[in-house]
């Protein structure tokens, strides 16, 4: 019986994600001209960022022990993480804040679905993936295509890097989501959310090896901004081979998932609806 209930619960959650994703995709396709604008925006962004890197490496040879090609790879992982974060976390925390501010959350809470799951994956913007993420990553992949041999990659490092991206995304999602939940207490969460976003991308310009010890400690524990990009790239490029980090980060992910659930329950108890 319990097994059957578990199956049902998984099915329901899958249905929520797929329906919300389809709806989000249709919604994002509504403004076709703007989508082309977004595509152009990303191409321009990548060009300007590559100019920035070129200009910078015209003056310096290394940044925190990373050469030009390694920094290009770092940028690739930054982009992948940024879009995952944007598509899953940023969009949904924004919706959560608006729904708290307007009282729309009331309606969501009475739906016969797991509320936290629904709120977490209310909208997954595949349009953004199509018109933002691909143009941001494909040029980098093309540039890197002839340079893979320069990078010191091993099978173990790549696998660990991928796991760190996945676990890091879960951790940072929970972290940003918890910051966004301050809207339950303040009524408005725009700038709190911005802080969450800024913290989540704080580790996106410098490799892990460039951080002072105390920031590394903070970034891998209470404010986990270093896991999804900096730590992952460090393993991808063989700069770090301490595989105990896998166990540690898995534990951190479980802890943050638990903390998110606790914070959600606590916040709901203090939720005073704006609509009633």
């Amino acid at each position: 019986m319990k097994r059957l209930e578990f199956k049902k619960s998984i099915k329901l959650r899958w249905k929520i994600i797929s329906s919300c994703t389809m709806f989000g995709f249709k919604e994002s396709m509504a403004y076709s001209l703007n989508n082309w604008g977004n595509l152009l925006s990303m191409i321009v962004y990548m060009i300007t960022y590559l100019i920035f890197l070129d200009v910078l490496f015209g003056r310096v040879k290394m940044i925190a022990g990373y050469g030009y090609t390694e920094m290009l790879f770092f940028t690739l992982i930054v982009q992948i993480n940024y879009y995952l974060l944007f598509i899953i976390t940023q969009v949904n925390t924004e919706r959560l804040d608006t729904s708290i501010n307007t009282g729309e959350l009331d309606l969501w809470l009475v739906k016969p679905v797991p509320a936290l799951w629904f709120v977490s994956f209310r909208k997954i913007n595949l349009g953004e993936l199509l018109f933002g993420a691909f143009p941001a990553t494909i040029p980098l992949l093309v540039i890197l295509s002839g340079k893979w041999s320069v990078l010191n990659m091993s099978f173990g490092g790549v696998m660990a890097g991928i796991i760190f991206i996945i676990l890091g995304q879960i951790i940072i999602h929970c972290f940003v989501f918890m910051i966004a939940m301050t809207a339950f207490f303040t009524g408005e969460g725009k700038h709190a959310r911005n802080v969450g976003v800024e913290l989540s991308i704080f580790g996106d310009s410098i490799p892990l090896e460039g951080y002072p010890k105390f920031l590394k400690y903070i970034g891998l524990t209470i404010v986990p901004f270093l896991v999804h990009t900096a730590l992952a790239v460090s393993f991808f490029l063989g700069k770090n081979t301490n595989y105990y980090y896998l166990v540690y980060v898995f534990g951190l992910a479980v802890f943050f998932l638990w903390l998110k659930t606790v914070a959600w329950k606590f916040s709901l108890k203090h939720y005073s609806s704006a609509s009633s």
């Binding site: 703007n34 604008g37 910078l56 003056r59 725009k190 700038h191 709190a192 800024e198």
Partner: protein, 278 residues
């Protein structure tokens, strides 16, 4: 109170005075709306500190050996550059987003009916919501000046001129970009294109002197240089030579041209808006 309002024979007409009073009241209202959420104000302050901490950290890792500047000078450069950029709303060009949203949501229908200059009214409305940001950007500039005090009075005066022309350039840029919504409803993609270009070519991410010599002059004379590079350089320059005057002159020129262009685009856009809806 009435006695304070100049009559039609004065320099400022009664209508203009009342319009200005409306603008300032709108700005104050915008500020109060934001200040109402005090925790949010603190979060805003924290986010600003975080962004700047990122820049400081990045340059402390890159090192100053190849820049020809001391660490303090470089930090002062970024403080003034980002302060000026933030002050004139060139960081994200949010006024452009405001225009886009107001057009998309149809809010400008009611603005157009008011006896005010619509774009100026919208600007003041937006300006009020930037209260915390403005205070913070001034703080950035002050700290930057304290770290590396200016050595030339003329440069200090030119700094004020450039901040003024930069503000007009940014206002015009945001208006032109925002007007894109008259043609394509949602124009934030285009706004982002301009923002990305402005980020690199304003000198806020990297001093423009880092660029290869072949492109340096053209980048320094672009309208974006007035957002960050030019104000920051003026605060640190030791001698005001003819090239500095040329840069300031070009900045004023860009301000005049873009302001004229923005008026033109707005008028065309409004005509189109009327044709669609009200």
């Amino acid at each position: 109170m009435r006695g304070n309002i100049p009559n039609n024979g004065g320099i400022v007409s009664k209508n203009e005075f009342m319009r200005f009073a409306t603008y300032t009241k709108t700005a104050v209202l915008g500020f109060l709306q934001v200040a109402n959420y005090r925790t949010e104000v603190w979060f805003q302050v924290f986010a600003k500190i975080l962004v700047f901490a990122g820049i400081v950290l990045f340059w402390s890792v890159v090192g100053t050996g190849n820049t020809g500047q001391t660490y303090y000078q470089l930090i002062a450069y970024f403080l003034v550059a980002n302060g000026a950029r933030e002050l004139i709303d060139a960081l994200y060009g949010k006024f452009g987003s405001t225009i886009i949203d107001d057009i998309k949501d149809g809010k400008i229908s009611s603005y157009l009916l008011q006896p005010t200059h619509t774009v100026i009214f919208m600007y003041f409305k937006h300006f009020g919501t930037r209260g915390v940001t403005i205070v913070f950007s001034i703080l950035y500039i002050i700290v930057g000046i304290v770290l590396a005090p200016p050595t030339s009075l003329v440069a200090g005066l030119l700094f004020l001129v450039v901040v003024g022309s930069g503000a007009i350039i940014c206002f015009s840029q945001s208006t032109i970009v925002g007007c894109g919504a008259f043609w394509m409803t949602e124009a934030k993609g285009i706004k982002n294109v301009v923002n990305h270009i402005s980020k690199v070519f304003s000198g806020a991410m990297i001093p423009l002197t880092f660029f290869p010599i072949a492109y340096q002059t053209s980048v320094m004379l672009s309208p974006f240089a007035s957002y960050a590079y030019l104000p920051a350089t003026l605060m640190q320059t030791k001698t005001v030579d003819s090239f500095v005057f040329l840069q300031v002159g070009v900045s004023i020129g860009w301000a005049v041209i873009l302001l004229f262009l923005s008026r033109l685009v707005w008028r065309k856009g409004v005509k189109r808006y009327e044709a669609i809806g009200i």
